[in-house]
């Protein structure tokens, strides 16, 4: 079965495609019997003896035996442990309601900030941007966010956002920008110095020296999703030369 998956690496798969274990009736005397084990990543699911595709996309492979489907998606589904950018919508009692782009608003307790106590409340207003991490995220309960890590320190999480621009991209774009040593960010560093916050829910926030530069950086990031590396480099070069 692993051989029939390996053949399809890089091919486009649709939900419902099935890979079955081929039971050979004759045992070859020349090849040794291998114990095949496959790890199913996102987009693949095991159904008895078959592996079924449940998302449309391109099949990817990582040695030794990890397979997954790379899919395009703009709608975010909250997952525990992911850091997202949220917008505070209401303050009710001890809890803020934060919009993260999912099916439900997430709750953020006012005690989940660094140095927050019952007397010392954090300075969070309706409409603020928060960079927070999911503590609870599953399909049966309301998602819960926190702005501290397990040791109690902020570590980059919290309220931010004065003077920048928040815009939306696809989830795949954010994942590409978050890979270490990726080329888009390397090219961007050479262009303008800027501050960048990436939320795994598809939201990006940029701040550069002037408003015009901020807008240019935002447009570059949005358009670099669908461009090949060569096209992107020519575009960045045009901007650097001041022709845009």
């Amino acid at each position: 079965m692993e051989s029939c998956l390996k053949v399809k690496v890089g091919a486009v798969l649709l939900p419902g495609d099935v890979f079955t274990f081929i039971k050979t009736d004759t045992i070859s005397l020349t090849e040794s019997l291998k114990d095949e084990k496959i790890i199913c990543g996102p987009g693949l699911r095991r159904n008895g003896d078959d592996v079924v595709v449940c998302k449309s996309g391109v099949l990817r492979h990582k040695n030794p035996n990890l397979y997954w489907v790379d899919s395009q998606q703009r709608r975010y589904v909250p997952v525990k442990g992911e850091s997202v950018i949220g917008i505070v919508t209401t303050k009710s009692g001890d809890v803020f309601k934060v919009d993260v782009g999912g099916s439900e608003q997430a709750s953020l307790s006012y005690l989940a900030f660094e140095g927050a106590t019952k007397r010392n409340r954090p300075n969070v207003q309706v409409g603020d941007l928060v960079y927070a991490q999911f503590l609870i995220a599953n399909k049966d309960m309301e998602p819960e966010l926190v702005c501290i890590d397990s040791s109690g320190r902020a570590n980059g999480l919290g309220v931010f956002g004065a003077g920048g621009l928040l815009f939306k991209g696809s989830l795949g774009l954010v994942r590409r920008l978050l890979t270490p040593q990726n080329e888009i960010l390397k090219d961007l560093e050479k262009l303008y110095p800027c501050e960048l916050v990436l939320g795994m829910n598809g939201r990006l926030w940029v701040r550069a020296a002037t408003v015009q530069k901020t807008l240019i950086v935002a447009n570059l990031l949005e358009s670099s999703e669908n461009m090949s590396a060569q096209q992107r480099r020519t575009l960045f070069k045009r901007v650097a030369d001041g022709n845009l």
Partner: protein, 195 residues
Amino acid sequence: MSPMKLCVPGEFILCSTDDCIPGTGVYMRHGYIFSSLAGYVLKKNEGEELPVISVVRETETQLLPDVGAIVTCKVTSINPRFAKVHILYVGSTPLKDRFRGTIRKEDVRATEKDKVETYKSFRPGDIVLAKVISLGDVQSNYLLTTAENELGVVVAHSEAGAQMVPINWCEMQCPRTHTKEFRKVARVQPEYLHA
């Protein structure tokens, strides 16, 4: 023995305590008997000196969950603090109406109560065996507990849709996808397990 007449709560039943003994569904004030339910007045002759007056909603009395009774319920929603359930059976008799119950986070297990996560103990749709600890007041539901070895999740379905098999007291496995999920599993006595 046949039902006599309809009455409403607060209605005066034509009997004083000299003539009859109060039964269920009635109360006494100033030496007279009044009804506390809306239903039929039943006068039963016990064979002793005085007949017993009671008010019943329907011809058969419904079995109500009492404190200490083992009930079978279905989880409807979960919350980090508690789980809400619908009570379906009291003992082995099915109920006509579904009563609502609550299982608080600290009543899920007997040990390590503060480390309990409701998401790892129950999920919506699970069938749970629980014990009633309190009837609750007017607005709150029955309070239930699963803090015993024999109480907990009996039937659960995995995310793939198949019925799961218990492995140990805190895990169940799906036979189709072989993924394990966390539940607070009940240790059912072997004589109650069907093949």
